[in-house]
């Protein structure tokens, strides 16, 4: 058997029904799918019957990790958690959540490429992976505990270095919007673990991940790659003017700079100019506390920045805020990023009074603790929007039993008191009453049961996109490209390839010049807010963004950082390197692949996801049943294609689909053709689709 670097060669399969634990040959079964989502789609395709429900024993949940996890390739250690996703309604389909942290790297050091969980344990268990020793252990004493305590208990048993991914009460209680969390990094899908009676997976690895290439060559590549890194989301210019910088952009997440501090560090630490040539300030350029809490509060309470294994760009703000302990009984220390913070504050309609910013920040901090301990996932913000809508429209008063309605501390809610969250999230985690069940259930189920009106789908502010999920970097971010990407998945799109490029912070002329090289025309991208009608280069960019997302999820690179189309380096004319993924892959594994060759593998993975979705939906009309945009895209905002308007026309989006399908080799219905699938090595998928009458 050939041996490669990167992969460990073994995939772990655990059947919780029988207790059988087996090691599979990664190369033999999954090499053509890399790992991560690629491996997981293949497992679901081969092994899980179409029509399986998320909480059925027949569902499988795959913790997919790829060849680059655990190596020094910057920004790896992401785990793709793929399963039949619990948040759909009435039908449910395949989807993936992603957590970062140090878990993926630890799994590789333990000698495993991925973990496939199947069956259902007869009573609560947790999975203990200590190198090649894998055991299913009793978790009855852990059941009912939050994630914080569960993690600590498992660390007490396995040792402090172990990395633990666990569910909280929400996952145990089969709340669809529940999370799996490792070290404050989230994935959805918690209830699938809960349905299998699996409380946690603890991993401790003492082995290694081999680099196939000569160590000097590898070092050279990594050093080169790091010069091209931007800040979080590959924003490549600073937010404020800096001595070294030709450009700046206030929207940039490159928030570190002269006079910008980690104010709660002891002593406070100035991030400094963060010149991109200074490799010893890479980890200082993203001061995310400022981004998530505003300059004053964020700077004052940031202890440091944290994040994932091997990632020098730190996007987790680690905050110290003593009143959390004094007022609410939670730890004064809290860490998270983006939605992990804003979940708590966006439960409220607004905050008022002179201390409104403090209340808002406290709601973020307290909300983070409650969500991360109960293991609640807020559906990328849709949960809060649904609550706000139901409150504002008087729906809650109508549908909640009187006793339940009265039991809710509305006085706290209306005064913007963060203490409201203590009651609010408990109801969701324990599925208490109509409110708790409704907010934890699949969004479409609740929207139907609570009787939301049509106007919910007609305003951008309610965030609804499709299939019970919100938009995620859609038309407001990249017009048609964002729309196409948001259509592709069975949950919110979780794709950042396009937004990383759109929001690099560079002037549009510079970005257009770079796009001309990468996509064949400067028309592949518009200046933000000055959208132009659809063209084929945007379709190319949308396809490229989609397949790169799958590539990252399969290699274990962070799609919140990659791909690096642009860089902060003036001497390179701000060009990044879109071949970095292929370069890492070639040197780490020893399998030489060009950018184009690796993109073909990514396209294979992307199409396998498409085929799986087509089989699950059992429709030939993917164009109108699956690839849909909500009404607000066409109805909310100023005249389409006028400056400042994000509104698009229906004709334009239909053209966008046509051009995108052409690029993908799909029919006008959105079905892959046999020729396309065979070109991608998916002849077997074409056979199965044909048999079902679903081949394009």
């Amino acid at each position: 058997m050939a041996t490669y670097g990167g992969w460990t060669g073994k995939t772990l399969r655990v059947n919780l029904t029988t207790g059988k634990i087996t090691a599979e040959d990664t190369f033999k079964k999954y090499k053509d799918y890399l790992g991560g989502t690629g491996l997981a789609y293949k497992v679901l395709w081969d092994e899980v019957p179409i029509g399986t429900r998320a909480h059925d024993e027949a569902n499988k949940i795959i913790f997919g990790v790829g060849p680059l996890a655990g190596t020094g390739a910057p920004c790896n250690s992401r785990t793709a958690v793929t399963t039949i996703w619990p948040c759909g309604y009435p039908d449910i389909y395949v989807a993936t959540g992603h957590f970062g942290g140090h878990w993926a790297a630890e799994l590789k050091y333990a000698g495993w490429d991925s973990v496939i969980i199947e069956g259902k344990a007869p009573h609560p268990v947790w999975l203990c992976i200590e190198d090649d020793k894998v055991e299913i252990r009793d978790a009855r004493r852990l059941w009912g505990n939050g994630i914080y305590r569960t993690t600590a208990e498992i660390n007490a048993e396995m040792g402090p270095e172990a990395q633990v991914a666990a569910i909280g009460q929400a996952g145990e209680n089969l709340v669809a919007n529940s999370a799996i969390i490792t070290g404050y990094s989230h994935s959805g899908g918690g209830s699938v673990m809960g349905s299998k009676n699996l409380k946690a997976i603890g991993v401790r690895g003492t082995g290694s991940v081999k680099i196939a290439a000569d160590k000097k060559e590898w070092k050279k590549l990594i050093q080169y790659a790091l010069t091209l890194a931007g800040s979080n989301n590959q924003h490549v210019v600073p937010a404020e003017p800096q001595p070294w910088a030709e450009y700046y952009d206030p929207g940039s997440r490159w928030t570190g700079g002269i006079g910008v501090f980690w104010g709660a560090a002891n002593p406070p630490l100035e991030t400094g100019a963060c010149d991109p040539h200074d490799m010893q300030s890479l980890g200082l350029r993203c001061q995310k506390g400022i981004k998530d809490f505003g300059r004053e509060f964020g700077e004052k309470h940031t202890v440091r920045m944290g994040g994932c294994h091997a990632c020098p760009i730190r996007c987790h703000a680690q905050m110290d805020y003593p009143p959390l302990e004094e007022k609410y009984g939670y730890s004064r220390y809290a860490a998270n990023t983006c939605l992990g913070w804003s979940a708590g504050s966006s439960v409220f309609m607004s905050f008022s009074g002179p201390d409104r910013l403090i209340k808002q920040s406290e709601a973020k901090l307290l909300g983070k603790h409650l969500n991360d301990d109960y293991g609640i996932w807020d559906n990328y913000g849709l949960m809060e929007k649904m609550f706000q809508y139901a409150y504002e429209k008087g729906i809650l008063k109508r549908i909640l039993p009187e006793a339940e309605y009265k039991s809710i501390p509305w006085d706290l809610y209306e005064s913007g008191d963060p203490a409201f969250l203590l009651d609010f999230y408990r109801r969701i985690a324990y599925r208490e009453g109509v409110l708790g069940k409704g907010l934890g259930d699949p969004a479409d189920k609740t929207i139907e049961e609570w009787g939301f009106a049509e106007d919910f789908f007609k305003k951008t502010k309610w965030k609804y996109w499709k299939m019970g999920h919100p938009y995620h970097h859609s038309t407001e971010d990249s017009a048609q490209i964002g729309a196409l990407i948001n259509m592709q998945y069975n949950r919110d799109s979780q794709n950042h390839s396009h937004t990383n490029l759109q929001n690099s912070g560079l002037p549009i002329e510079v970005v257009k010049r770079i796009c001309a090289k990468v996509f064949g025309s400067p028309d592949a991208i518009d200046a933000k807010g000055k959208w132009t009608p659809m063209n084929k280069y945007k379709a190319k960019a949308a396809k490229w963004a989609s397949i790169r997302k799958e590539l990252h999820d399969s290699l274990s690179l962070c799609n919140w950082m990659y791909p690096w189309v642009t860089s902060p380096l003036k001497e390179r004319n701000y060009e990044g390197d879109t071949a970095l993924e292929a370069k890492y892959f070639s040197l780490a594994t020893g399998i030489k692949m060009t950018e184009e060759e690796l993109d073909l593998v990514a396209e294979r993975i992307f199409n396998l996801h498409r085929c799986l979705t087509i089989l699950e939906m059992n429709t030939r009309d993917m164009r109108n049943k699956h690839d849909i945009a909500p009404d607000w895209v066409f109805e909310d905002g100023g005249e389409p294609f006028t400056p400042g308007s994000n509104r698009l026309t229906r004709e334009d989006i239909e053209l966008a689909k046509d051009l995108f399908y052409q690029e993908c080799g799909w029919t006008r219905e959105g079905l892959p053709t046999r020729a396309t699938l065979e070109r991608l090595g998916l002849g077997y998928a074409a056979d199965r689709l044909e048999k079902a009458g679903l081949l394009g």
Partner: protein, 240 residues
Amino acid sequence: MREEQKTPAANIAEFFGVNRPTSRRGFLKLSAATAVAIYGANILAGSGAKAANGMYILENAKGVLVSDPTRCVGCRRCELACTEYNDGKASPTVSRIKVARNLNYGPQGVQFGFQRGEGKYGNFLVIQDMCKQCPHPVPCATACPNDAIEVKGPVNARVVNTEKCVGCKVCQRACPWDMMCFDEEIGKATKCTLCDGHPQCVEVCPTGSLRFVPWRDLTKENRTRQPGMLMFNDGCKGCH
């Protein structure tokens, strides 16, 4: 028996077998280690003559690694650089700079009230552990029954001579800071070599948390992680 009359062998046996608090699992591991220890102890007991010849007096190092934990963000790129650039593989276990073990809960490990402790699950402080390049008597070098830990220029780092190392792991027990590493894949001990004066961990640290500075004695000012050789080193006359 009075303390100074104990033989080094008795001291070592006591150290491994008696003085060290263990969990049940820890004890099982230790039982195996004790056998090795006794082997090592005999050699050490017989090495007095060698010591009298001055073979264990190692020249001081010229440089040492220091850290500012305030700046450490726990990305572990130092561990990766240590093993990828020196050994061609990523392996925190082999890494001669240690961050992972303190990352989650700090050097104290999981404790009641961990949320007020150190590390990612506490107050976020990440402590980096580095080799102190100890002055004479260098615990790892002194304990090594094969004299496999030697001084190597240009910066006089204490390094493992893999030709001589037989993989007995006595050095791992000897280091009070638990900084000796063992590479199971080659069956040899390994330790910080200061990369011949260009420590890779320092070069890759993305926050400037690590520095390579002129040597000074850090052994008196750093918390130890295990009793190590300090427990049974009964002064110069034990060896000289």
